[in-house]
């Protein structure tokens, strides 16, 4: 059955895609594709074109709210749409929807939105680790595992049944039969069999905006890959002229200055992989983000060498994302394209601004590797 709205809807989609009414394109807002980790609140991007009106600036307007709090207390942001009975359609809805949603659901939505294929496992053996869980109760066992409460209950039951219990002197003496013990069951748990190695250029030319783009992008890559594999490990490498491994927080915060030697990062990544993640057991995903301004062409050829010999052969996919910075020449992606472009496992993506993040995620994950 076709709906009347389909015509208007496809016209709107065409505007969003930039096919018609190009003048409106610059007014499209996508909302932010970002997850708030704490409460796991996540906004879902829905393209929106505001119809401009004479309206009040929002910041100096303020408003009236309801609830607890002293003057000076902060207000929670992003009160979402209220589900409920009512005449929808008249009011100006919130443009960015914020919802309680689990990361798994989020990954599914992402997959659906971008029509990402499920990843084909390389067919590597899935390692299972055994773990004992104390979930059951048995009649025999070591004293150290005696379940006090259950034992007491049994003793109480017995003494009431046999008529020895008196409420005035509620003394319970457990006998051997009353004793109950905790028992364990062995659980098989899948262990991580995929690893993501994030590498980021933190040289002077990478600004805050560039890092924010990397942060958003790696959040989504993380979310998607975690959905695809039972367990996943992440390693973080930052580099300028030298590379070092850092934790997640440092990865996104550090701002160094100085030159750029991309090979240093590839070197370190290859070392980590060889040491900790044998290719026969692991699905390996190196991701590298940079503004593409490498120190010298010598270093670039060294990079190619490491890639060809040590990284690409073991990886499921090697991904390189290039952000635009005002200083960078952006040469590196061209070199990669020239020398590694034919390599199936190498995925290159250009990310000029935030709007391009979605497309770039699709570049990276759209191949189902």
């Amino acid at each position: 059955m076709t709906l009347k709205i389909d015509r208007d809807h496809s016209r709107f989609r065409d505007i969003v895609r930039g096919r018609i009414r190009q003048g409106l394109k610059k007014y499209i807002s996508h909302g932010e594709m970002i997850g708030k980790k704490g409460k796991e609140l996540v906004s879902i991007p829905i393209p929106h074109i505001d119809v401009p009106r004479f309206t009040f600036g929002s910041k100096n307007q303020g408003g009236v709210g309801q609830g607890d709090g002293k003057p000076g207390d902060p207000l929670d942001q992003g009160e979402g749409d209220q589900a409920g009975t009512g005449e929808a359609g008249q009011g100006e809805g919130d443009h960015v929807l914020e919802v309680d949603i689990t990361l798994e659901e989020l990954a599914d939505i992402l997959g659906e939105e971008l029509s990402l294929p499920a990843i084909e496992d390389k067919g590597k053996s899935k390692i299972q680790s055994k773990k004992d869980k104390y979930t059951g109760i048995r009649r025999v066992g070591p004293e150290s595992l005696r379940h006090f409460k259950r034992t007491y209950k049994e003793a109480l039951k017995r003494s009431i049944a046999s008529g020895t219990y008196s409420p005035d002197a509620p003394l319970i003496v457990p006998q051997a039969d009353d004793k109950r013990f905790r028992s364990f069951r062995t659980d098989e748990q899948p262990v991580a069999n995929a690893v993501i190695v994030y590498m980021m250029d933190v040289s002077g030319s990478m600004g805050d905006e560039q890092k924010e783009i990397v942060r958003i992008e790696s959040f989504w890559i993380d979310t998607w890959l975690r959905r695809q594999y039972d367990g996943i490990e992440s390693r973080y490498i930052i580099h300028d002229a030298t590379a070092r491994e850092v934790d997640r927080d440092t990865f996104f915060r550090t701002r160094e200055s100085g030159g750029t030697m991309i090979s240093s990062a590839y070197q370190l990544a290859a070392d980590i992989i060889e040491k900790d993640y044998p290719a026969s057991d692991w699905n390996i995903y190196p991701f590298h983000f940079s503004d593409g301004d490498n120190w010298s062409s010598d270093d670039t050829s060294l990079c190619m060498k490491i890639l060809r010999e040590r990284l690409v052969p073991v990886a499921n996919m090697f991904a390189y994302g290039q952000v635009h910075s005002p200083y960078g020449s952006g040469q590196f992606i061209k070199d990669l394209r020239e020398q590694m472009g034919t390599e199936e496992k190498v995925v290159l993506s250009d990310i000029p601004d935030r709007e391009a993040i979605v497309r770039s995620i699709k570049d990276f994950l759209g191949k189902g590797r």
Partner: protein, 524 residues
């Protein structure tokens, strides 16, 4: 409802029809007075479609409705929210139910709908949506017996739809659509009071030019005349009026005009088709205006009545009470710290009902400042029900809150104001002081939440430029939007357009001449 075209497939199933009859009878019993109400049942995509069109599936084509549809459809698919119901202000009223809702939900929705329809019929604001036989808007006097106005807006909006479609066929999609875009930017430049008063008096100009201004006199008995209309004051007024008359001489419009849309329709150099489009936009803007003006009252009234019908008049049976309460709690929830119009409205009606039941009004009550006495004040008048029915007829959101929001109510409901804090980079609680809370709330509702903008001069600088004035009430305009609205205005007016406002306390003129935006400090 042949105009809808799908009435056959959307007919109510028998078990719901039975419920409808039952609910209708009970609703009449508790005093609700509504138009005949037609329920239709729709699948979720159909309901989303209808909601995207603002309730009218036959509206004019525009991408904006497609955008709204996408938002609704996505929200539904992701399980974020769904529309339970939609009711539109027509006579007979049409309400849409969502197929697949539980019976309890459907009953709740029906009760809610009867609350809305009663409100549409009886609240004075909606008088401005009465039509005459030719489909023109005619505000009528207050309710009489057998009030049965013509509100065939389904037909009217369908006519609008075919007007726009016909123009599109003749002039092409792109020009018509982009002109509609421009008009939509002006949609809120309306005068909410204009349907009820005569703004413009058509004065017969005497041939020998304007006469001496007549100063209006207050009524008085002979011996009081000198005190009530003192001579020196009358003289000063006369001076003032005549100097005003001189300075306004040749000014057009003579008085600042708040119905900017009407002003443009009458005076802008528009093509015939452009005028037709602008007229469509203006009529629909005025149709939806009463709903903006009574959001809190309307939702509050519907919620007040659905809870009364469901719980006290046996619409829900015992097995359904828990489901009902769960759903109702969801509707009434104050999410985070934002204000929920449903909740605010329903609580305020209950507050009024209680006050009038206990006689907590009038001079004695106002003058009593013994807290204990006030707390136990109960004259057992039982006037509550009568009062809230009166309130729902003759107030809108602004007057409703102005009159009935009491310090006690604000305290019990924990109302506060919030402000943007530069230091925190977010909003924070500002104060719980009653006067300030009330002030803020009223400020936000005034003029349906829109800035007051008037046409001041259509021949500014003697260059045919259009000068608008923003009545600055302490909140600045959003400048990037204002500039784009000026672009839309230039599209309509075809000469430079200016708006006089204040930015950060400084008087400013924002101007667009068709090519460049500029800003000049100072007043016109």
């Amino acid at each position: 409802m042949a105009a809808l075209g799908f009435s056959n497939e959307t007919q109510l199933p028998a078990y719901l029809r039975k419920e409808q009859d039952k609910i209708e009878a009970v609703a009449r019993q508790i005093g609700l007075d509504f138009f005949p109400t037609v329920f239709e049942i729709l699948s979720y995509d159909r309901l989303n479609e209808v909601a995207a069109y603002g309730g009218f599936p036959t509206r004019y084509p525009h991408w904006r409705f497609g955008m709204e549809y996408e938002r609704l459809a996505k929200s539904y698919e992701y399980g974020l929210s769904k529309i339970y119901e939609m009711v539109i202000n027509t006579n007979p009223a049409i309400a849409y139910l969502l197929e697949g809702n539980s019976l309890t939900d459907q009953k709740l929705v029906m009760c809610h709908v009867y609350g809305h329809v009663d409100f549409f019929k009886n609240n004075f604001c909606f008088r401005s949506t009465d039509l005459d036989t030719l489909g023109r808007v005619v505000p009528t006097e207050l309710s009489r017996e057998g009030y049965d106005p013509n509100r065939r807006w389904i037909d009217k909006l369908a006519n609008h739809g075919s007007v726009v479609r016909r123009l599109t066929a003749r002039h092409g999609v792109e020009p018509v659509e982009s002109f509609v875009d421009s008009c939509l930017s002006l949609e809120n430049l309306v005068d909410p009071h204009s349907p009820f008063i005569v703004r413009r008096r058509i004065e017969e100009e005497a041939e020998e030019g304007p006469q001496e201004p007549v100063v209006p006199r207050l009524k008085s008995k002979d011996y009081m005349e000198g005190f009530i209309n003192p001579e020196p004051y009358m003289e000063a007024e006369k001076q003032r009026l005549s100097s005003e008359q001189k300075s306004n001489k040749g000014r057009f419009p003579a008085e600042p005009e708040q119905d900017v849309l009407l002003f443009l329709i009458e005076n802008a150099p528009l093509e015939k088709w452009e005028r037709a489009v602008l007229t469509v936009i203006r009529e629909e803007a005025y149709y939806f205006l009463p709903q903006m003006q009574t959001k809190i009252m309307n939702e509050g009234w519907a919620s007040y009545n659905h809870s009364k019908l469901m719980t006290q008049h046996g619409v829900a049976d015992f097995s359904e009470i828990v489901d009902y309460a769960d759903n109702n709690a969801g509707v009434m929830a104050t999410n985070g710290k934002s204000l929920n119009p449903y909740k605010l409205g329903v609580e305020l009606y209950r507050h009024i009902e209680e006050r009038w039941n206990k006689g907590q009004f009038g001079r004695d009550w106002d003058q009593c400042d013994d807290l204990d006495e006030r707390r136990h004040w109960d004259l057992q008048l039982g006037l509550g029900t009568k009062k809230i029915f009166e309130v729902r007829s003759i107030y809108n959101d602004v007057t409703f809150l102005d009159e009935f929001l009491t310090p006690e109510f604000a305290f019990e409901n924990k109302l506060f104001t919030f402000e943007w804090s530069e230091r925190r980079g977010g909003y924070e609680v500002a104060t719980r002081e009653f006067q300030k809370v009330k002030q803020k709330l009223l400020g936000q509702l005034t003029n349906a939440g829109n800035p007051v903008i008037r046409v001041l001069d259509a021949n500014h600088g003697n260059r045919g430029e259009l000068l608008l004035r923003h009545d600055h009430q302490g909140v600045d305009l959003r400048v990037d939007y204002a500039e784009r609205v000026l672009e839309a205005l230039v599209r309509v007016w075809k000469r430079p357009v200016l708006v006089a406002t204040k930015l950060e306390e400084q008087p400013v003129l924002i101007r667009f001449d068709g090519k460049d935006h500029s800003r000049v400090e100072g007043q016109p």
